[in-house]
Amino acid sequence: MLEPNPTSCSNAPILKERGQREVFCGLTSIIWLHRKMQDAFFLVVGSRTCAHLLQSAAGVMIFAEPRFGTAILEETDLAGLADAQQELDREVERLLSRRPDIRQLFLVGSCPSEVIKLDLAKAAQRLSKIYAPSVRVLNFTGSGIETTFTQGEDECLSSMVPSLNESPDKQLLVVGALPDVVEDQMRNLLAAMGIDSVSVLPASSVKQEVTVGKKTVFAATQPFLGETHSALERRGARHLPAPFPFGADGTTAWLKVIADEFSVSDARFEQVVSAPCARAKKAIAQASKVLDGKSVFFFPDSQLEIPLARFLITECGMSAIEIGAPFIHKGLVGPDLGLIPEGPVLSEGQDVDLQLDRVLKARPDLTVCGLGLANPLEAKGLTTKWAIELVFTPVHFYEQAGDLAGLFSRPLRRRAVLSREAAE
């Protein structure tokens, strides 16, 4: 079980940097959100750059026609704004007539749409009236001037909160998009403890109703949901702060906070978690043979850095040199920070050139960074883990704990295998 560390990072100074950032913008969240919400379409109102970003981040996942697209602004749209609203109506009409399966449409703002002050909230209201009740139209921003990477999910989920129906009942709301298989595991664990009134935001379709109210308590499965956190509090819901459910101990701690809230007896809690927890520990032990005693350096990417560093330090025997995050929301990552022993540099924001100087000086055993930096650092002899995979792969809860440790150990194992080859 995790015990708060008396000399933890909770109050450690944070190195705040404001230079060149090397991170994705919030549009990138659409890549996993559209897989999760199967009746939703994400219509980015942006430029060719936005379309190209989505395509590049989606990599080779080219399917027939994905449930996202970009309405590319053209010279004519930039000339007059009334015009752009009409153009948008026309594109939406075409889209919805071609895709009658769509039940939720998200208009997603980008840097260009925000700079020209194209009012997507107004557009969403107008289009909602036209297409209600068959299609719900909402808007959020994924722009790079407002959001980094995973904050796109935060903006998306928080845009849904005001429209959730009110519920007077005591219930648990879990926020954060998880792959279905992981979500089912979580629901099963909670059900086994007798916690049945559980809903998850985002739901996979509009048919699954999500409600909120004064007696709702909510737990986050992702650390980047700061806006959603505030939006839910505004609706009267209460947050259950906990370490994030990564690894065996993280999952147990997260579940325990919920179990206590719902007055689950210790005996019953033990009975539910003991087997999967033991399984998870075994799997982690296997992978962490390679990780034990090694150092790690996190570049800012997804805001998962602090909880993941907690996992690597307290469950895999690693030490951290620097933990960089694009944004540190202490209300969410506080419990994880409290478990990390003092020592690592905590940095927020970025100045990528300075950070590269630091990483090359420190020469950590493992560097967690974005795709733009990974190969250049490998070429300089560092071992890297692409951060984006930590967001795209199922990594939460007990059954994925071994996989999570494996994501970090594989690059180290690979380097060892290849250098043996080279040495021969």
């Binding site: 549009l27 590049s56 590319i72 602004l73 700079v115 001037i145 190969n375």
Partner: protein, 515 residues
């Protein structure tokens, strides 16, 4: 406003990055929000480059707007200069910065840097990646290249290759070899592999080889006018084109066009009997203009295919592609709309696609083999082995690449012979491919008895019924033509107003479509 799902080209500043990243000693300061840094991964992941692109992004945020985005730009520019010490600096704006009108060019010029500063004006809302590369290279050349003394020996520049180009790395080697066989040395290869100092001595060459009109034509034209450098018009992809290219170079230089072609194998491989099965294969060609045009000639004259459709995604090349299509008796498809290309392929149902990675996905879905001939690139388009498209070795590579997705001649024959053998599983696909060929989900159901209530309507997918015998007969047709046989039969049946497909319908359709 136009809804786009997948794009063939990135924005113009990505084209500028392709120029900058291909070069050394040059740095690009791009006024752009943080998300635009995704472009780095194109180079570090797809092309596996071992260094970061030489690009500094200002990564301004919403809170900077209206206050100090301009200062942010200046300090980013100064920092980049101090840290990277480039020989020249490119400055420009991405789509978002274009809207806030900070004038990066003007600001950088006033900073008093002691290296040339080249300001780029790339209209993000009108133009695309290839234009961006072409324009950037042109601006660089115009700013730096001046008349200089010619090299004593006949030499040329190779113009157009960039970072993230389709096989540019190997095309450079192949052409350098061919030209050296003629007795011509290479003065500068640019932009890829050059420095700003190299750009200054472009004029020392006797002529330019324009490898890729998409990314080098404007600069080549400027050098023709201002430096007196003629440039080649033939792009040497394919055997015939390579010979034409050598003749063109011969005319410019007076040197003999006859070089050692003993390692050229395409003509014999194509003539050998195993290739008989290639005869008249119906192919659809799509890519950038240059690669589509060269592929068409190879397909028809060197492989013996029948070209049933041709097009390109870059509007700049619409004119030559249309002209070529006309000479083939076709209408060119000029579009950057992926869905339109898909519809066109579906309508034509070719036996093979020569396209880009996008068409490869279309082919996968439709069960049509596809070979990749052009950018946009994918990590697979950067093989570790030498695999040019240009010159004689390029022709060999193209032969192998194009037949690879197909079933080999003798193998096709054996499949026919053994298709009834119970031990033979024709779902397995060509023997040299792992996994199995794409299978099309049956579009219609097989029924023993057609229920009386089925009324004849125009909706083929609902009402077309394959009788059991016909379905069985269809299964006897080798898998790699089965999809086409099914489609042809259904189209034929529909045209005939027949909604129950029998064995007879199948063979009537076969006779109808026989060539």
């Amino acid at each position: 406003m136009k809804l786009t799902v997948w794009t063939y080209e990135g924005p113009p500043h990505v084209g500028a990055m392709r120029v900058a990243t291909g070069m050394t000693g040059l740095h690009y300061v791009l006024h752009a929000p943080q998300g635009d840094t995704y472009a780095d991964l194109l180079f570090t992941m797809i092309e596996r480059r071992n260094h970061r692109p030489p690009v500094t992004y200002t990564t301004f945020q919403a809170r900077d707007l209206g206050s100090d985005t301009a200062n942010l730009f200046k300090s980013a520019c100064q920092d980049a200069y101090d840290r990277f010490k480039p020989e020249a600096i490119l400055v420009g704006a991405s789509c978002t910065a274009e809207l806030i009108q900070d004038d990066p060019g003007g600001m950088a010029e006033n900073m008093g840097l002691d290296v040339p500063v080249i300001a780029l004006e790339l209209p993000s809302y009108q133009r695309k990646e290839n234009y961006g590369a072409d324009e950037t290279f042109f601006q660089l050349v115009r700013a730096l290249a001046r008349p200089v003394e010619k090299t004593p020996q006949i030499s040329c520049n190779l113009i157009g290759p960039t970072a993230l180009g389709f096989r540019h790395r190997d095309d450079i080697d192949e052409l350098s070899g061919l030209l050296s066989d003629m007795g011509i040395s290479v003065n500068v290869v640019a932009p890829m592999g050059s420095t700003p100092s190299d750009i200054k001595r472009l004029g020392a060459a006797h002529f330019n080889v324009l490898m890729y009109p998409e990314t080098g034509e404007t600069a080549a034209r400027w050098m023709e006018r201002d430096l007196g450098l003629p440039f080649t018009k033939v792009v040497p992809i394919g055997v015939g084109a390579t010979r034409d290219f050598l003749n063109e170079v011969s005319q410019i230089t007076g040197l003999s066009p006859f070089v050692d072609d003993s390692r050229l194998r395409l003509p014999w491989y194509s003539a050998s009997v195993d290739s008989t099965y290639l005869t008249g294969k119906r192919v659809f060609i799509f890519g950038d203009g240059t690669h589509a045009i060269t592929a068409a000639r190879i397909a028809r004259d060197e492989m013996g295919f029948e070209v049933v459709g041709i097009g390109c995604y870059n509007r700049e090349m619409a004119r030559p592609v249309r002209a070529l299509a006309k000479s083939f008796g076709l209408d060119a498809l000029i579009t950057d709309d992926y869905l339109e290309v898909e519809r066109c392929i579906e309508d034509l149902s070719p036996e093979m696609i020569l396209g880009t990675q996008m068409e490869r996905h279309i082919g996968k879905r439709l069960g049509i083999p596809c070979a990749v001939i052009s950018a946009p690139v994918h990590v697979q388009d950067f093989p570790s082995r030498y695999s040019p498209q240009m010159g004689f070795e390029g022709a060999n590579v193209i032969f192998d690449t194009w037949v690879h997705p197909l079933v080999m001649g003798l193998e096709e024959h054996l499949l026919h012979m053994f298709r009834d053998d119970f031990e033979f599983n024709d779902e397995a696909g060509p023997s040299h491919h792992g996994g199995h060929a794409a299978q099309r989900a049956p579009s219609v159901k097989t029924m023993d008895i057609v229920p009386a209530e089925i009324k004849e309507t125009k909706d083929v997918s609902l009402e077309m019924v394959w009788l059991t015998d016909a379905e069985k007969e269809l299964k006897k047709i080798p898998f790699f033509v089965r999809g086409k046989a099914r489609r042809n039969t259904e189209t034929y049946a529909l045209a005939q107003g027949v909604y129950k497909i029998s064995v007879d319908t199948l063979y009537e359709a076969k006779a109808h479509y026989a060539r």
